[in-house]
Symmetry: C2
Subunit: 308 residues, 2 copies
C-alpha cells in the first residue's frame, strides 16, 4: 500500500462562457463539483478503492440536476430520458456499461453492478433495467428526472428541430471521474443523459469501453466528454493508453496529442480527464470550457470551469 | 488506383470439431462461406469499394440460416432475436453500429446506413428500427428469423438455464468481413445474433467500434468473433491497430500477440480476421475452429473450418 491517491472529475465540456454565466449559477456549479470531489476523495482517504471512489463521485454528479446525467439528464425527441454509463477497473480490466436506460436513479451504479454481478460487460434498454430490478437498485419515475431547464431546452430544440448536446450552453453534457487509490489501482467512470432531442436510440461514447471510458493499471484511467461520435471513431480513451504503453508517451503528451491534434483534426470538440499510476492528472479540453475539479497526490485541489 | 485487392470473411469461432460435424453440414458451411466470399469479391473485382464489399459479404452470411446473424440469429431468453452489427470505413474513420434490433433483415446494412445517413455512430433498439424505417430498409417478422436448429438450442439452454454463444457446437456465433479495395482503402464489418438464451439486453463486442470491429487505412481492418465481454475489455480490434501504428509490429505479429497471448491470458476464447494496407491477411483464433475464407492479392482463395 502507498500513501499516494488522487481524484479528478468532470461535469461536461463545451461552449461555457463567462459572458453567459450568472454568478449564482457559477457558484452552484462549483459547489456541485466540490461535493462530488468530496464524495470520491473521502473514500480514497479512508483507504477505499478507486472503483468505489469514481462511482461515488459520479453518483453525486448524477444526483445534481445541474449536470446532464441521472437527475439532470436531458430530454430525448419523445420527451423521455435515455441514459448511458460505464465504469472500468484498471487492476482487473473488468468493465461494466449500460445504455438507453430511463428509470434507474444512478446509471453508474447499474454499470458497476453490471461489472460485478451480471457476467457481462454491456447491457441495454429494458433488459438492463430488468437486471437493475433483480439487483434491487433504486428506480425513479419521470417526475424525478423532470427539470424545468432541460424541458425548456427540449422545447426549444423541438422548435428548431435540432439535436443538441446541451442546448443553451452548447455544453457536452456528461459527467465522469478517474482515480488512483492507495493500493496503486486506477479506475474510471462516466455517465450521461446524451443529447437533447436525440432520436433513434443514439448512443454516444460514454458507455463504449475504450472510447469514453477506460482504465488500466499499466497506463492510465480516462473519462471523456464531448461530441461522442468522434470520440468513438478515434477510440479516444484507449488511444491514450496505447500511446503511453506502446509509444512511451507521458500522460500529458498522450492527452495533448489526442485532444489538441487528433480530435481537432476531425472537429471533435470536447475534453477528458485522465490520471496515471503515479497520480499525475490531466484535465484536457479543446472547447471553451469544461467543468472540472481534482485533488492531486499532495492534497491540492482545484475547481475550474473556463479555459483560463 | 492499384490492382491490389483482397477479402477475408469469418462465420464464427469456437469448439468446431470434425467429430461432431456431418459431411453434408460441412459442405453447406463451405458453400455458405464460398457464396459470401464471392458476393464481396465480385464488388472488389469491379473496382468497387471495400465498404460495399464487406457489407455485401456480411449480408450474404446474414441471409444464410447456418450462421448466427440475420436470418440465423439465435433466440434470446424470451424467444426473441436481438441482433448487433457494425461497419467501419478505414479511409475516413467513419463508422456505424446498431445493437438490440429485432426486425431488420440485414443488420449490417442498417449499420452502413447509420454510418452514411444518421449523423451518428451507434443506434440502439426500437430507435434504430425507427431509423431503418425512415431509410426504407427491409423488415422481416419473427417467422423469417425462426429456424428449427436455433429454437432447439434455445429450448435446451432454457432447460439448463445456460447462456451459450451457440449452444450445440459452443460456436461463437458472429460473422464478419474485412477488405482492401483497389483504391487502397480498408473496411471491416461484423454482425451477430449474440448468445442463445441471453438476458438483460446483453451487447457483445461486435457493435463496439474498437472492440469487435475497426478499420484504419494507416494500419488494418479487423473483425472479431468470440467471447465478446473479453474482447470489449481488451479493446481487441483497435489494440491490433495500435500495436502496428505505435509499436511497429506487423499485422501477423500484432494478431499473434493479441489472440494467442493477451486473450488467452484472460481466457478470451475466439478469433479474428484482419487485413493490412498491403493486402496481408491474418485468420487467427485460439479456439478449436473458425469458419473462415479469404482471397488474397494474387487471387488465391482458401475456405477452412478446423485448426489444421
Amino acid at each position: 500500500m502507498t500513501n499516494i491517491f488522487a481524484l479528478a472529475i468532470h461535469g461536461g465540456a463545451g461552449t461555457i462562457l463567462r459572458s453567459t454565466m450568472t454568478k449564482e449559477l457559477q457558484t452552484q456549479y462549483e459547489q456541485g463539483l466540490k461535493d462530488a470531489l468530496s464524495a470520491g476523495y473521502t473514500i480514497l482517504e479512508k483507504k477505499g478503492n478507486s472503483v468505489d471512489a469514481v462511482a461515488a463521485a459520479v453518483m453525486c454528479l448524477e444526483d445534481n440536476p445541474l449536470f446532464n446525467a441521472g437527475k439532470g439528464a436531458v430530454f430525448n425527441n419523445i420527451g423521455k430520458h435515455e441514459m448511458d454509463a460505464a465504469i472500468m477497473n484498471g487492476k482487473t480490466l473488468e468493465a461494466g456499461a449500460v445504455c438507453g436506460i430511463s428509470t434507474v436513479k444512478n446509471p453508474v451504479l447499474l454499470a458497476k453492478t453490471t461489472m460485478l454481478y451480471s457476467g457481462h460487460v454491456m447491457l441495454a434498454g429494458s433488459g438492463a433495467e430488468e437486471f437493475a430490478l433483480s439487483q434491487n437498485l433504486q428506480f425513479e419515475n419521470d417526475a424525478y428526472f423532470y427539470t424545468q431547464q432541460r424541458y425548456d431546452q427540449w422545447q426549444e430544440a423541438l422548435v428548431e428541430n435540432k439535436v443538441q448536446l446541451d442546448h443553451t450552453e452548447k455544453k457536452m453534457g456528461t459527467v465522469g471521474a478517474v482515480a488512483l487509490d492507495c493500493f496503486g489501482n486506477l479506475a474510471a467512470a462516466t455517465s450521461t443523459g446524451g443529447m437533447t432531442n436525440k432520436k433513434f436510440g443514439r448512443i454516444g461514447d460514454s458507455p463504449v469501453i475504450g472510447a469514453g471510458t477506460y482504465a488500466n493499471n499499466a497506463t492510465c484511467a480516462v473519462s471523456c466528454t464531448g461530441h461522442g461520435e468522434l470520440f468513438i471513431r478515434l477510440v479516444v480513451a484507449y488511444d491514450i493508453s496505447c500511446l503511453m504503453e506502446y509509444k512511451g508517451l507521458s500522460l500529458k503528451e498522450a492527452c495533448d496529442l489526442v485532444v489538441y491534434n487528433k480530435l481537432v483534426a476531425i472537429n471533435g470538440e470536447g475534453g477528458l480527464i485522465a490520471i496515471d499510476k503515479a497520480g499525475n492528472i490531466e484535465l484536457s479540453f479543446n472547447s471553451e470550457g469544461m467543468y472540472r475539479a481534482s485533488i492531486d497526490i499532495n492534497g491540492n485541489s482545484i475547481i475550474k470551469i473556463y479555459k483560463d
